[in-house]
Symmetry: C2
Subunit: 498 residues, 2 copies
């Protein structure tokens, strides 16, 4: 169940979900139990004083109950992050403790579960949830057996920053101690239409934005691989060292998917790190209908994937996934003695905090875990397909409609539908500067009127030499075709006489 | 009310709180109204088509109602971040819209308020809450009129990272575009006992951990200013450029407060950025009894302060405060056209996102704002004083108690109480390596037994040449003296026969 996932095929998940048959469930439970037991055995202290022996844990009751994820019922107060700790005792002990809350948490946490694991003991359940979920995500990306590493971060920008840090560490680990001065001039590559966080990372991490080379895109907003190769060779001729390429899966404005396989070929040829920023597009990996748009993503060295975007998990919930194990830790560990004592009575490889640039982290995994349990993988797939269907509906509705003009031809790859609306007064103007200037002002005016009248809202922006256009993005599966109809009519109502 | 705050005095707050007298309230409300009106007028488009005129906003109803912060009541669903937008319409419009929810949010957000402002329009209320709260925090730090800048970040480690980035930008702005190669060898200084995030920032940002110079501390864990000065001059003699000093207000293990005034003198003398990491100690600024421990903090160029620590706000809630306005923006802005359109119909200086290294940010301000409204400044002060009283109680209880030994002499500065417990078998051993080795194992054993029996938990760690000792930290004002008594007795019960 954990082993048979082939790249780019529809995900075959071992997760328990409402759609699993009974037979599947029992197989999954056995497999998880076996694995959990193995994990635990590998860190068990045998022999010695029983009082100091590592605690034997039956993790199976954590996830072996399908949808009935067993939340502790505290009698007096909501569970706190420290209390979750007690889950790692045996079920019998847990039950006893849950009805007789320990004084463990009295010192610091008057509120609900809030912190996840710089150390396992602070929030063992959340650490385990993270590990299992990250593994599932890596399986879905297509890495064999879901092997690799990863961490949840406060958002896509930070996840992308991690990817640059890790790539740098992979090629020039001495920078960690000696600084950028220890390396030759390193250059990074990304689409001219990629998210601005790549630029922010270049500035913050000491590369400098001048050393982030922007790649040209085609009419649909996708990186042109030949442009990457020519810029890589040009940089090498200048004596610079190309180390990192970001391919975007779902650009912010056009929703474009860069051709990952072609880019991966070039990365392999020139020994560069391939990161895929699938913050926005990653959700489509859950859809057997749409995941082909990220064909080749299993060749990436790292992937950013934000469940808080297309999958509807409340912000914040972003994952950075890394194919090679150990780099995150190597890159970020500082071995703070006061947190990471090697003489703890459990396997300290569960202390994940030294992988992060943060110390205590907000619990982002719990809501995602619960949503996955509730909806199942199939549920996510349906909701994503629904959003894409709605966008396709909008596209088909306006592509030939009087007064509307698409920014690029063809059905959008993601839910981003980009279009201009031309008021009556502009429709028969000849193309030229005057028309452009007037059209540029239309979207801001209509948006302002929408906000004023409070009926709906849709964003706009210019891009390159294209004047302001609307960008409609749907990530809420509760939207309906009638909402789309309303939007189109509202634009016409407010804008036709401008 | 906003103007009369002098450095290092007890905070004189303009915040509305339950403790304000009626007279004070009316004065504060007028002052806020006046200011809000002024802010608004300065960005109002006068004349022109009324449809495109900037919306006049009466911000006063946002915070002018004391504790009755008026949450919108949506009829069908909880308010979403987009809906909060409607608050900036007039109260009458808001009311109408709230009973007839707009279709604005249908596209993306099926859940509750979750995102704060890379742009104002996404979450205007949260942006304003952030601005006002950051200003209050800067007033409490002691910067004249609360002037300056700041942002909420995902935690103290990221806030500290911001401080290093901003300092670098202040002295070598060209690094943003040209990278670290454009600068001479820069060195940073921090206490050997400071939080490891300073080290992580040095690695991540491209300085290299070798260029972070660690400062010696006294027996209480406070930086020795003379050591800073001698290391600065030594670095300069080698041709390095000292740019940044971190002073810790509340170290992680000892809870020590570095002598800020002495360090500030040296920073001024050598033209270095002074950052105060008050992630842990910042809460004490709310206490007229304890804020003297941070005497001189108003001389800092930047301050990290985590309300999610001592003030009991659920994680995550961390602020980076900057004395000089414009640096955050200058350091991090990338002017992404698709987000920050200059032709928006409101004052785009409210679009705070380009100050951050993140894009969308989790809403951390709301809970903090509500807590402040509910407790008042006096409420925070009481809860902080209570925690410090409890720690003083623990200290006085064990300082002369048989079997207990303090790690350093004198009453702790923060709530960190550091001590060894000596089982009977160790008490009469002569000092020496055998005793050290055996004592080193005591705290881990007792902690393991506590976890096993589920009664309570307290952390331990070694530090420098000091073997494992307990570190008791109290930040929950609901703890009581009897909890402390229990802890001490439990340590004795579990440990005395080891």
């Amino acid at each position: 169940m954990f082993n048979n996932h082939s790249p780019d095929s529809s995900p075959s998940l071992g997760f328990l979900q409402k759609n699993n048959s009974l037979e599947e469930r029992s197989r999954i439970v056995s497999s998880i139990k076996e694995r959990a037991t193995k994990d635990l055995l590998s860190c068990d202290n045998t022999g010695g004083d029983a009082r100091f022996k590592r605690i034997e844990t039956d993790f199976s009751n954590l996830y072996a109950r399908g949808r009935s994820f067993c939340l502790p019922k505290m009698e007096k107060s909501p569970p706190c992050s420290s209390c979750w700790r007690w889950w790692k005792s045996s079920p019998a002990t847990s039950r006893r403790l849950l009805t007789n809350p320990p004084r463990a948490s009295v010192w610091s946490c008057p509120t609900s579960p809030k912190q996840v694991g710089f150390t396992y003991e602070i929030a063992p359940v959340f650490v385990l949830m993270e590990q299992l979920t990250l593994k599932k995500m890596r399986e879905i990306v297509g890495w064999p057996n879901g092997e690799g590493d990863g961490i949840f971060s406060p958002g896509g920008a930070i996840s992308n920053m991690y990817s640059v840090m890790i790539a740098r560490y992979k090629y020039f680990p001495e920078i960690k101690t000696k600084g950028m001065a220890a390396a030759p001039r390193l250059v990074l590559f990304t689409s001219e239409l990629s998210h601005y966080s790549i630029k922010k990372a270049s500035a913050a991490l000491g590369f400098g934005t001048d050393n982030l080379i922007l790649l040209n895109t085609d009419e649909r907003g996708r990186v042109i691989p030949a442009d990457l190769e020519s810029k890589v060779t040009e940089a090498k001729q200048k004596g610079y060292v190309p180390v990192y390429v970001n391919a975007t899966a779902g650009t912010t404005v056009f929703g474009a998917f860069d051709p990952i396989n072609d880019i991966a070929d070039i990365c392999e040829k020139y020994n560069m790190w391939l990161h895929v920023d699938a913050a926005w597009g990653g959700g489509l990996l859950m859809s057997s209908k749409h995941r082909h748009k990220m064909s080749g993503i299993h060749r990436a060295n790292s992937v950013t994937w934000n469940p808080h975007k297309m999958m509807g998990v409340p912000l914040q919930c972003s994952a950075i996934l890394v194919r090679e194990r150990g780099l995150l830790q190597g890159c970020n560990s500082m071995c703070a003695g006061y947190l990471f004592q090697p003489d703890k009575h459990y396997d300290v490889t569960y202390d994940t905090g030294d992988k992060a640039i943060q110390c205590g982290r907000h619990v982002d995994i719990f809501k995602f875990w619960l949503m996955w349990k509730a909806k199942g993988t199939v549920g996510f797939e349906q909701q994503i397909d629904k959003c894409l269907d709605l966008s396709a509906y909008l596209y088909s509705k306006i592509k030939n409609r009087e007064g509307f003009q698409m920014v690029f031809n063809g059905e959008p790859q993601h839910t981003n539908v980009c279009f201009w609306y031309l008021p009556l007064s502009l429709r028969h103007l000849p193309d030229g500067e005057e028309k452009r200037e007037r059209l540029h002002k239309v979207a801001p005016k209509i948006k302002a009127m929408m906000m004023e009248s409070g009926t709906t809202m849709v964003g706009y922006q210019p891009q390159g030499d294209q004047v302001n256009f609307f960008r409609m993005v749907i990530s809420n599966p509760a939207a309906t075709r009638s909402d789309i109809d309303f939007l189109v009519e509202e634009i016409e109502r407010l804008g036709q006489d401008l």
